[in-house]
């Protein structure tokens, strides 16, 4: 993709602004560091952003840390523990983490003027800071940023206490939602994640493609479709979604599509899928779809074919499936958890709900008032256009790099 490809979507001035900001970073080298080039949301967004930053004239480079399988099993545990899941973390796990971190410090070249470290896996690289400065005798000390894509609101204290000494050495940290952050002794910025409007998951689709996906999954177009897209996980409350649908179904003829996948690292997901299937029973209006990874066009088509999109999660990260639905101008009913309240401003860009009955009530409101639903959908699309597209994400990163040199609240460039 080229930066100019986004101009018809976000407008010329937004692209001009990116160029202006990028010009101010001339001569700086931004070194992005994470744990993998492929797989996962961070790698996906970096693989899109690095080329775009390059087109804007920013010297942004991307490196990954090295680690064996044992290390990545430990970091997976850390990830889950920081998200608040029950995990048993041992002293050996901590030792593996420290050992791999030290190895990376010795082997990696940390050359950037700004080192942008993503997530907990490479967080320990900051320990090299003093030695790097000493060895290079830089006139301008390197700036270190930690980008946390995880919800740290309820972390496993043991893991957090282990990682915190690394985190506090950074010059600034970045979180995706206010609720995900913690009190830390450095500047903390809020930068929401984003979606790419030109990706397979979000680009415009011809009606023919949408119809063919519905045909593939034997979903007739005879009734309004209510859809939730999420993996089979108790935190996404799939059974609650079915219950809400059944309440709606009492007065309005409609269908439910629950489209998701199972996660290989989540042994519970198969169990959840089985429970959901059992709860759906033989109801011909409930379609439980197990979608293989990478089926972006199919997810896109299912969202576009829907009348209402639901995200009835108990816990949520930022909730990019909500962003995707809003971008498609679909009316959304979602729980007020994680990053969802940043996206769904109740009664303006969608409806927030707190329980099964509330979700059912909101869905009924939308199905019986298509004009209202359409207005919310359009507002939601505009909200995403200005706040949650990759161009805004790029702008925020550029501003972040510039803000590192300016502690003041009003910066004149």
């Amino acid at each position: 993709m080229r930066v100019s490809d986004y101009e018809p979507i976000v407008g010329r001035s937004a692209i001009e602004e990116l160029r202006l900001l990028a010009a101010k970073l001339s001569g700086k080298v931004i070194q992005m560091i994470n744990s993998t080039f492929v797989g996962g949301g961070v790698a996906e967004i970096l693989s899109r952003m690095i080329p775009l930053l390059g087109q804007l004239g920013v010297d942004a480079r991307w490196n990954v840390i090295k680690g064996n399988e044992e290390f990545f099993q430990v970091t997976k545990k850390f990830h889950n523990a920081l998200h608040g899941r029950q995990e048993t973390v041992t002293e050996k796990d901590f030792a593996v983490f420290l050992e791999t971190t030290q190895k990376n410090i010795e082997e990696m070249e940390l050359y950037g003027d700004i080192l942008f470290v993503h997530d907990p896996q490479p967080v320990g690289l900051i320990a090299s800071r003093s030695s790097v400065i000493a060895s290079r005798r830089r006139s301008n000390p390197q700036k270190w940023l930690w980008r946390c894509h995880i919800d740290l609101s309820h972390p496993n204290e043991e893991v957090w206490n282990f990682l915190q000494p690394f985190v506090v050495q950074y010059d600034a940290s970045v979180f995706s939602a206010p609720a995900f952050s913690r009190e830390l002794p450095m500047r903390q910025f809020l930068i929401s994640p984003s979606i790419d409007p030109l990706s397979d998951k979000n680009k415009e689709l011809p009606q023919q493609t949408i119809d063919s996906v519905l045909t593939k999954y034997t979903i007739p177009k005879d009734k309004p479709i209510i859809t939730q897209v999420s993996r089979f996980d108790y935190l996404k409350d799939p059974v609650g979604v079915i219950q809400a649908f059944e309440l709606v179904r009492k007065s309005i003829d409609c269908r439910l599509v629950f489209a998701g996948g199972t996660a290989s690292d989540d042994p519970e997901s198969d169990k959840v899928l089985a429970e959901v299937r059992q709860r759906a029973g033989n109801n011909p209006d409930i379609h439980i779809l197990l979608i293989p990874p990478g089926s972006d066009i199919e997810i896109n088509a299912l969202q576009r074919a829907s009348s209402v999109i639901v995200q009835k999660s108990h816990r949520e990260g930022f909730g990019l499936t909500v962003t995707e639905a809003l971008w498609k101008a679909k009316p959304v009913v979602a729980s007020a958890v994680g990053g969802i309240p940043l996206q769904v401003k109740n009664r303006f860009t969608g409806l927030l709900s707190y329980g099964i009955e509330g979700t059912a009530y909101a869905i009924r409101q939308l199905l019986t008032n298509p004009q209202y639903a359409s207005r919310l959908g359009e507002n939601g699309r505009e909200h995403v256009r200005y706040n949650f597209l990759i161009t805004r994400h790029l702008r925020d990163y550029l501003l972040l790099f510039l803000a590192l040199e300016h502690p003041e609240d009003i910066i004149r460039l």
Binding site: E17, F175, H383, A403
Partner: protein, 460 residues
């Protein structure tokens, strides 16, 4: 000798008489024609008539002298070779003098056209090129005729000229349409130097020069754009006419974008909310009373401040929510007084013992602050026309900064546009009219349209 003169006196007198008669007839005809031309110039309003009259009168006598010499020699007893030579010589002189008249006439008429339109420099190169072209053409034709008169072969020269014309035509095939278009622009006066034009392809600005190939315009970013003349004739061009009164100081548009910084402070209930609000930096108050304007600028009506929404949604207190939402931000000159008002409303409410609810876990109020980054833009306005055209083009961030942020956050008391209109443009009334608009009741695009309408009305 005397004897010869006595025998042939008439052979000398007759040619001399013929020559004198031609001179007298020439003088008489010059007067007659001169009078006719004078009457014509008096009747016609065309300024060029005087040039035609003056230029035509000047060589009249010379032509009759040449005619007289030619006839006198013909009636003389000089040898046929001399007579033939005389015809050729007088004919050549006539051709050259006639060519000179054509050159002078064309130069003066074209120069008149240049200044008649008060174009001062406009189209000058185009006119100069036309004069030179006519001059060369006349000289070439004159030389060819003279060569023909003297019986010299002109075919090789014609061939050479043909080749030169072909080469020139090939070399200038792209420039020719622009040259003729430039000439037409100059003669029709459709576009003049000093006009503000807008081309359908997006270029716009004041015309600074019309050359033989391009029209130069000064764009809103003070760059110079060259537009091929032929494009101006082919496409749609809006011409807003002459420049308006220049401001004492130009208005330089800046843009603004922002980053959100987390303070780590949060509130679960009204008491905590008000305590943090009392001491939070101005950037926090600004963020929570303004970020909706940018983030949701497309909504009508726009949502109110964050405090009101949180109190209504998270604490379920719609009464206080409404009270906080109804705070008229436009009525406060700075963030300090706005903060005092918000604190006073909450404290008054708390003193009545009305609300001790706690927000559910996860629905706490997170205090954030806005880090504004102000950037220069290329847009500069020297008068109302440039100002309104720039207003259409600037980003919403730029518009937002000049209307909201500079007034309240930078404490200027008025929006930047009104300040410039009043202080630099001498448009106090318009400035006041814009200052009276409550920007918080519009969407950003709606407000931009309202301002553009007001300025357009003033320009008309």
């Amino acid at each position: 000798m005397i004897e010869w003169l006595a025998d042939n006196w008439f052979k000398i007198v007759i040619p001399v008489l013929v020559f004198l008669a031609s001179y007298v007839v020439g003088l008489w005809l010059r007067r007659v024609v001169g009078n006719l031309l004078e009457r014509w110039t008096a009747k016609t309003r065309w300024e060029g008539s005087q040039i035609v009259a003056r230029t035509a009168r000047r060589p009249f006598l010379l032509w009759f002298l040449l005619l007289g010499i030619c006839i006198a020699i013909q009636v003389s007893v000089l040898p046929p070779e001399v007579k033939s030579m005389t015809v050729k010589a007088t004919g050549s002189l006539f051709v050259l003098s006639f060519g000179w008249v054509v050159i002078v006439l064309s130069r003066e008429l074209l120069t008149l056209n240049l200044f008649q339109g008060r174009m001062k420099g406009a189209n000058k190169p185009s006119i100069a090129l036309a004069i030179n072209l006519i001059r060369v053409t006349v000289i070439v034709i004159g030389v060819l005729i003279v060569l023909d008169i003297w019986g010299l072969p002109i075919s090789p020269l014609l061939l050479l000229i043909g080749v030169a014309v072909l080469v020139a035509a090939l070399a200038f095939r792209d420039a020719a349409p622009n040259f003729f278009a430039g000439f037409r622009l100059g003669t029709t006066q459709q576009i003049k130097v000093g006009d503000y034009i807008k081309v359908e392809t997006g270029e716009e600005g004041y015309v600074t020069e019309i050359s033989w190939s391009n029209t130069h315009i000064k764009a809103l970013d003070e760059s110079t754009i060259l537009i091929p003349n032929s494009r101006l004739l082919r496409g749609t061009v809006i011409n807003y006419g002459r420049p308006l009164k220049k401001a004492k100081e130009p208005f330089r548009f800046v843009s603004r974008t922002d980053l959100t910084e987390l303070t780590g402070l949060k509130a679960r209930n009204l008491r905590e909310l008000v305590e943090v609000l009392k001491t939070a930096p101005d950037a926090v108050v600004y963020y929570h009373t303004h970020h909706f304007l940018e983030q949701h600028h497309y909504l009508t009506p726009e949502p109110s401040n964050d405090f009101a929404i949180w109190v209504g949604d998270a604490l379920g207190d719609e009464v206080l929510g409404e009270r906080l939402a109804s705070v008229d931000t436009f009525g406060f000159p700075n963030l300090g007084t706005l903060r005092e008002r918000l604190v006073a409303i909450i404290e008054e409410y708390l003193s009545s013992g009305s609300n001790f609810r706690e927000a559910m876990p996860g629905r706490e109020f997170h205090f954030m602050k806005s880090v504004s980054v102000i950037l220069p833009t290329p847009y500069v306005a020297h008068d109302l026309r440039e100002f309104v055209e720039a207003l259409r083009k600037i980003s919403l961030g730029s518009f937002y900064f000049h209307v909201f942020e500079s007034r309240l956050r930078l404490g200027r008391g008025l929006n930047d546009f009104s300040i410039w209109l009043q202080d630099s443009s001498g448009e106090s009334e318009l400035g006041e009219e814009i200052a009276r608009l409550d920007p918080y009741t519009y969407t950003l695009e709606g407000l931009r349209s309202a301002l553009i309408q007001l300025i357009e009305k003033r320009i008309k």
